[in-house]
């Protein structure tokens, strides 16, 4: 230690490191492409398998994107990682579950005397209500989460809200377990968005099943993303949100109620997470108190991948992550167990090349 006092710090040439990093990243990229090329040539995976993989990736990516937008919205305004966001999604997922469950219990007699559940008699109403309630509960959770766990910490050191968020996440998860029990609950879908039925697409001699639930999720997540984009870009609320994100103090001077905008941001991000939760239930069929954890972390990754604080970035990051996760192992010819390894490696690779994410505009250096 003693020498350390006297030794001058050795200057590392800054430029060289950048070049070395670039070269290293380039080499890795080339190797990756070569590997993918070889595997694709060798493997017996037909076109149908690739189609299946891409569709799966898109569907899961859409959900990641919806949750990631929530992370990004909150981050853009408060510069905090809302660690409890996955749990908000879980609560939304339960909301949808209970709606379907209730409607399934109501019998309806058709004209020809057959008895079916209300769920299948009025599927559109059921789905709408499931999403409304799921999103509503999640939005409410987001609202109170902010009010109870984050608002008192406004102005505290930056990591403090993160810990509070972690605490809230643990609390919500365990509350979910105590309220709804440890078991996994199965979503009962209306037949029109069934998980097992769907369009058979003939391709290369076999048929690929595109399930109704999958298509529904895909379309809905795309719609919600467009709607959110319009909300942020075109409405007064969106403008206020962007203003607050850019500079809270000035925004307040311009007559924007910052606290209210922050609350509304949490409501919106909660609603999106809730919709992702209901979608998750509809598509994967299950929900329990732990359902938010993995997607939460993945979506956080997606948000960073796209450039945190950037809404189109979160969408692209989510879809990209979903596709990499599902196609990656097959394309690289390695175990599916290593899906997450691939996803996170890609994240590291992308961030080495673009330190602020795919669409990030050096946000962290200037704005934080």
């Amino acid at each position: 230690m003693a020498e350390e006092h006297h030794k001058r710090p050795v200057k590392m040439p800054q430029l060289n490191i950048k070049i070395i990093r670039l070269i290293a990243a380039f080499v890795v990229l080339v190797l990756l492409i070569l590997r993918i090329h070889n595997v694709a040539l060798e493997s017996q995976l037909g076109a149908s398998t690739w189609l299946r993989l891409s569709v799966s990736g898109l569907i899961i990516g859409g959900m990641y994107a919806l949750i990631a937008i929530g992370y990004t919205l909150v981050y853009g305004i408060l510069f905090m990682i809302n660690f409890a966001h996955g749990e908000v999604m879980m609560i939304g997922s339960f909301g949808g579950y209970f709606v379907f469950e209730a409607f399934n219990a109501i019998p309806v007699t058709l004209h020809d005397g057959t008895q079916i559940s209300f769920l299948n008699a009025q599927p559109v109403i059921a789905i709408l209500l499931a999403f409304l309630i799921g999103m509503g509960i999640a939005a409410l959770t987001g609202y109170f989460l902010e009010k109870i766990a984050y608002r008192p910490l406004r102005g505290a050191p930056r990591l403090v809200p993160l810990i509070s968020a972690i605490g809230a996440s643990i609390f919500l998860q365990n509350a979910g377990q105590l309220l709804f029990g440890p078991q996994r609950r199965q979503y009962i879908n209306p037949v029109i968005i069934d998980r097992g039925l769907g369009w058979q697409i003939p391709i290369a001699g076999t048929k690929v099943l595109l399930t109704y639930s999958g298509i529904f999720s895909l379309v809905l997540s795309a719609t919600l993303m467009v709607a959110l984009y319009l909300l942020v870009q075109r409405t007064k609320l969106g403008r206020a949100m962007r203003a607050v994100a850019q500079d809270k103090r000035t925004a307040a001077l311009m007559g924007i109620n910052v606290d209210k905008i922050i609350s509304q941001t949490f409501v919106i991000s909660g609603a999106l997470a809730g919709s992702a939760g209901v979608m998750w239930g509809i598509h994967n069929g299950l929900t329990n108190y732990f359902v938010g954890f993995l997607p939460g972390i993945k979506a956080f990754t997606a948000a960073v991948l796209g450039g945190i604080g950037n809404i189109p970035g979160a969408m692209i990051g989510g879809l990209f992550l979903g596709i990499v996760e599902s196609i990656g192992p097959a394309a690289l010819g390695i175990d599916f167990q290593l899906q997450d390894v691939i996803a996170f490696s890609i994240l590291i690779l992308v961030l080495i090349l673009r330190p602020s994410g795919i669409l990030g505009e050096a946000l962290t250096e200037e704005k934080v």
Binding site: K11, E101, L159, V160, G167, A175, I352, T364
Partner: protein, 517 residues
């Protein structure tokens, strides 16, 4: 007392209504009642509910709190008794109304044969009947209503008594502080030898306690000690150099596994000496820290956080994957990990491990202190305050960040090795994301950059859940709530850091704004 006050009280009552209904829904009312009963020495026998008096005590306690808060909310100085009681009554009545509504709904569902438990798993029929005091829904609900209202009124009255007796406390407080400022205690405090004596007492306790308090406390305190070790390591990264790392468990895992692999008979049968293996673990973790740091330390803030989080997940998945099964034994984990030996003697009892952990902690505290006060520490401080400025003033930020990561990783490696050795077993489930999160929490809960804070934080984070074991399935719920509460009450941490002074008359240090700018 006007309408506004009544409104405020009603709002307060609403909050408590949510709390009561939530507690009832998760079945906590029953658990709390059993705990109260236990405190009074009456065990609750299996399969039966505690006595109703225990439930009344619990509900009354919440009611008192309710009234207390309602009365405090009026913000009247001096508070008039009538107003206070009115506020308490209003608040308690609102809460009670909701409790009545809840009782009616749940009780009616129950008596109509609906199995509520299918949806809300904590609501067993017995617990519903218990909440209704064994009465019909309506009368049970009215008992709730009256209980809530009356106890809230008493809670409000408590505020009055508190205010009346307040000045007595103030006098005592003044006396105490006067005593504290008196000349001889202050002199005593400044005396170096007193500090040494205090230190000596602590050390004596550290020497004696592990031999006296039995294996369970050795185990719990050992875990706390290992987390202190981890906390000190992460504190160097997050607290000193200001880099947010969420994948600290990766280094912990690398330490534990490299230690396990070179000492365990399976899978490689190397059976190295304990001390050499510890060294291997520390070096391996430090090297991995440098390796992961090289490409990513340019990233800032949350980008670094998520990349390191990803790194931690990558390590965990690789350890349990089929790919590395030959090397790490996959999910099965490694067993028969060696304990410490010295001069051919085995030192593997729980108290021996406790000593080992205490030594390791003392050593790491010593090292961390030394580093913090050295040139390196000042470089870290500069980086954590403002990286761009630090760079501009000639600090090689990259190098010092790398150094922080390597040192932090080495501490994690040491912790991992001791952890594996003490349990004689390590598996992938020991190295999950929650470990990183726990360590980060303890650093921040304790107070970032402060070593006493880390120790306190480790007690809070790892000791508390063990203490909360009595709460059984509610312990993590309570733990999460406490974490939020702790942050709200003390955002700067339990024992905030005081920056070392480098020069006389230096301006007061700026409070550190977050680790990750």
């Amino acid at each position: 007392m006007n309408n506004l006050h009544i409104q405020k009280s009603a709002k307060n009552g609403l909050v408590f209504a949510v709390i009561i209904i939530f507690l009832a829904l998760i079945g906590f009312t029953v658990t709390a009642a059993s705990m109260i009963q236990k405190v009074f020495g009456v065990e609750v026998s299996v399969g039966t509910m505690p006595k109703y008096s225990a439930l009344i005590a619990f509900l009354a306690f919440i009611g008192l709190w309710n009234g207390w808060r309602a009365a405090k909310q009026t913000e009247e100085h001096p508070l008039q008794a009538g107003h206070a009681i009115l506020a308490g009554l209003a608040s308690g009545f609102v809460t009670g109304l909701f409790a009545l509504g809840y009782s009616l709904i749940v009780g009616t569902l129950q008596s109509n044969g609906v199995n509520v438990r299918v949806y809300l798993s904590s609501l067993s029929p017995e617990s519903i009947i218990y909440f209704l005091f064994g009465q019909s829904p309506l009368s049970g609900g009215f008992i709730q209503l009256s209980l809530s209202t009356v106890s809230a009124a008493f809670g409000a009255l408590l505020v009055i008594f508190w205010d009346r007796s307040q000045h007595q406390f103030l006098i005592w407080k003044q006396k105490l502080s006067a005593w504290g400022n008196a000349s001889w205690p202050a002199k005593l405090r400044r005396n170096v030898f007193v500090g040494y004596i205090a230190m000596g007492v602590v050390l004596l306790l550290l020497v004696i306690l592990p031999r006296t308090w039995g294996s369970y406390w050795n185990y719990v305190m050992g875990t706390v000690g290992i987390y202190v070790l981890l906390g000190i390591g992460l504190n160097i990264i997050v607290g000193y150099s200001g880099q947010l790392v969420l994948g600290y468990v990766a280094f912990f895992a690398i330490g534990a596994y490299s230690f396990a692999l070179v000492t365990a008979p399976e899978p490689h049968n190397l059976n190295w000496n304990f001390w050499i293996a510890i060294l291997v673990a520390v070096v391996a973790s430090a090297i991995s820290g440098v390796l992961i740091g090289l490409p990513i330390l340019r990233l800032r803030g949350d980008y670094l956080a998520i990349v390191t989080l990803g790194f931690g997940e990558i390590i965990r998945i690789l350890i349990k994957s089929d790919l590395l099964k030959e090397i790490t034994l996959g999910p099965r984990g490694i067993r028969n990990i060696a304990g410490p030996t010295l001069f051919g003697k085995s030192f593997s009892s729980d108290s021996d491990f406790m000593y080992l952990i205490i030594l390791a902690v003392l050593l790491s505290i010593f090292l961390a202190r030394r580093w913090q006060e050295s040139r390196i520490g000042r470089a870290w401080l500069a980086i954590s305050q403002d990286e761009t400025v630090a760079q501009a003033t000639g600090v090689d930020t990259y190098k010092y960040k790398l150094l922080a990561l390597a040192i932090g990783a080495a501490f994690a490696g040491l912790g991992g090795a001791i952890f594996a050795s003490r349990n004689q077993f390590t598996g992938p489930e020991d190295h999950v994301l929650m470990v990183s999160i726990n360590v980060l929490c303890l650093v921040i809960v304790g107070g970032m950059g402060s070593i006493p804070g880390v120790i306190l934080g480790a007690f809070a984070l790892k000791g508390l859940p063990e203490i909360l074991r009595e709460l059984e399935s509610y312990r993590l719920l309570v733990f999460g709530a406490l974490l939020v509460l702790m942050m709200i009450v003390r955002p700067e941490g339990l024992w905030p850091a005081t920056r070392p002074k480098y020069e006389e008359n230096s301006p007061p240090p700026v409070t550190v704004e977050g680790g990750s700018r």
